[in-house]
């Protein structure tokens, strides 16, 4: 996929500093127990891929990290700050955590450039001129600078998703969360988005990606996590995860997903 293969966790010197930490996280929707005692430690610069069958709680897990969903038990610690019910605390954490959604969720009434500048100007209080210059820099990085003045509705799905990534990067986040960023895209657009994500990984961004792109997991992930029925079933480095899966459920899942 890329010319230079990314070194995996074993070869890479990882910082000891914890970026995201989930300790015994439990969540219920009404009576339904969605997350059961989820424990996860993500170090600075680490790239995590979460996979698992539909409805297993992958989205819910990462959406708890920036409080799009509220967990009922356990602790979530992001960059040293423990998530609690205080709005200030939630906003502090959200500033440091970028998120890319399956359906892009760009703001359709704003141009691409305005989409990127909105939060830096109003949340980070960066002067408009500087914010625009920075937005152009990130738009260039996702190779979409010539569409800056268009509206999202005028772009293809792949272009929209790259804008969404640039929009998150403009906030200079310490962690990026991806929730199936390529699953609403046509095959030829998947690659352009994955290339951007791979580049981002190589630059040392801490990333937690929910994805079924196993090629991506093999090239960039430091650790692959398999979830089922709201629990983490197995986690391992990509080589061992794909070649020597321990749990039966993981083996079944992998055989299904790698068949086609």
């Amino acid at each position: 996929m890329t010319t230079n293969t990314t070194n995996s966790a074993a070869a890479r010197e990882l910082n000891d500093e914890l970026m995201v930490e989930l300790r015994g996280v439990n969540k219920w929707y009404g009576q339904f127990h969605v997350l059961k005692d989820v424990n996860l430690e993500v170090r600075k610069g680490e790239r995590i891929v979460i996979c698992g069958p539909s409805g297993s709680g992958k989205s819910t897990t990462i959406r708890c990290i920036n409080r799009l969903e509220e967990h009922q038990k356990g602790d979530i610690i992001v960059g040293g700050t423990t998530l609690n019910n205080d709005l200030k605390n939630i906003e502090t954490i959200r500033r440091e955590v970028g998120m890319v959604f399956q359906h892009f969720n760009l703001f359709p009434h704003l141009t691409v450039l305005e989409n990127c500048c909105l939060a830096p100007i109003w949340v980070r209080k960066i002067p408009r001129k500087e914010a625009e210059a920075m937005a152009m820099k990130y738009l260039e990085r996702v190779k979409i600078q010539d569409q800056a003045l268009k509206f999202p509705g005028q772009l293809s799905g792949g272009q929209q998703q790259r804008v969404a990534i640039a929009r998150s990067l403009c906030m200079n986040p310490q962690v990026m969360l991806f929730d199936e960023p390529t699953s609403a895209l046509d095959p030829e657009m998947i690659k352009e988005v994955l290339d951007v994500m791979i580049e981002l990984a190589q630059e040392g961004m801490t990333m937690i990606c929910v994805t079924h792109e196993m090629g991506f997991a093999k090239t960039v992930a430091d650790r692959v996590i398999f979830m089922d029925k709201g629990q983490i079933i197995e986690e391992n480095d990509p080589h061992n995860f794909f070649n020597h899966p321990q749990s039966e459920r993981t083996q079944l899942f992998l055989s299904q997903i790698l068949q086609h």
Binding site: H103, N105, L106, F107, H109, L118, V123, F151, Q154, A164
Partner: protein, 371 residues
């Protein structure tokens, strides 16, 4: 065996799109005279239009009288617009002192100039002009219309009337109701139980009573309850009543717009760290507002016409003042002309607003989909 393989070697050039219309005659042939039944129906419709329109046009324009100073000038048998022409100033300005009428003209001229500035594309300083219209202009308009300082003589509100009163009521009603409506709608969707129940009760209460009752309450009942010295102007009371009533309707229009915004928009805004108010102001409301334009214009048109109800509390809006003119013994018998004039003025304003709202919807259209 046949050869199934096909390959294109030369790429096709870009061509201009085909002409979409083929002229008036082509259009008529396609739409009005496509077959015998259609042709017969078209001719019949034309005949109907002919027998309805000719007498009307003749009454309004051809056999009508326009100049003169009394009913004796009306000799042609058609409409007698002399009545309207003679009382035109009163229909526009009510009983406002003649020497001060320039104040009304100036106020509306200023308003029109500012609104035009905002409406015409490509003019600079729109934000500043909008701020002036909303914050400075109302104060200026108050001093111009009511007077009392800067050497301007006070004109009591019971002298106000005619079209200018109708416009003052409608504009104040809608402009003040919009922000209250937005707040009420947000409150109704809020998760805080006290705020939410207050908004629900407010909206349901005001939507459940007719405007005429509100006006009666404001003009007749209120003075009974509040002490003498706190009693304030009748027009002001009517305005407050209208604004409270209108906010409830506006709130429901806004709520409809808010409901149409996908959840993903809220989530994206939150994920970027925007707090509730920033998310609403920069992401949700601008999109919702676009969807609300037809509803807002609709309520505005309804309110514009409903202002006529103030006649029951003794304020002379356009309709009331024309009716008052009709009872003048010198002009008895010209009610058709009077009402036709009122209808025409209302129609011009309402049609204009409706057209402008369509234009706005097109201008805010930024490509397809709302994700």
């Amino acid at each position: 065996m046949s050869n199934l393989s096909k390959v294109r070697h030369d790429m096709l050039p870009n061509l201009p799109p085909p002409a979409s219309s083929v002229g008036v005659i082509g259009w008529m042939r396609a739409n009005l005279f496509s077959n015998i039944t259609n042709s017969v129906l078209t001719l019949f419709a034309l005949y109907l239009l002919y027998i309805l329109l000719t007498p009307t046009i003749s009454w309004v324009f051809i056999n009508s009288d326009w100049t003169g100073s009394s009913r004796d000038a009306c000799t042609s048998g058609g409409a007698c617009w002399v009545f309207v022409a003679n009382r035109f100033d009163q229909f526009m300005y009510g009983f406002y002192p003649e020497a001060e009428i320039w104040r009304i003209n100036l106020t509306f001229l200023l308003l029109v100039a500012q609104v035009l500035w905002l409406m015409l594309p490509n003019l600079p300083y729109k934000g500043m002009v909008a701020a002036v219209v909303l914050l400075v202009f109302p104060i200026l308009a108050y001093f111009l219309l009511y007077g009392g300082s800067f050497g301007l003589e006070v004109v009591e509100t019971h002298k106000w009337g005619g079209l200018s009163l109708t416009l003052v009521l409608a504009i104040v009603g809608i402009v003040a109701a919009l922000p209250f409506g937005v707040l009420l709608a947000l409150g109704r969707r809020s998760e805080m139980p006290i705020v939410k129940s207050f908004c629900v009760v407010y909206i349901e209460f005001w939507r459940g009573i007719p405007l005429i009752t509100v006006l009666f309450m404001a003009s007749v009942m209120l003075p009974l309850f509040v002490p003498e010295e706190m009693n304030f102007d009748k027009l002001l009371r009517a305005m407050i009543g209208i604004v409270m009533f209108q906010s409830a309707y506006m709130a429901e229009v806004v709520r409809g717009g808010l409901q149409a915004i996908p959840k993903g928009q809220y989530e994206a805004a939150q994920a970027l760290g925007l707090n509730y108010w920033k998310m609403m102001v920069f992401v949700v409301l601008p999109q919702a507002l676009k969807l609300m334009i037809p509803g807002i214009v609709n309520t505005f048109i309804a309110l514009f016409k409903d202002t006529s109800l103030v006649l029951i509390i003794g304020l002379f809006d356009l309709l009331a003042i024309v009716q008052a003119g009709l009872t003048d013994p010198k002009w008895l018998g010209f009610s058709v002309e009077g009402y036709a004039f009122v209808a025409f003025v209302f129609w011009v304003f309402c049609f204009g607003m409706s057209k402008y709202s369509q234009h706005l919807e097109n201008r805010f259209h930024t490509g397809h989909g709302s994700r």
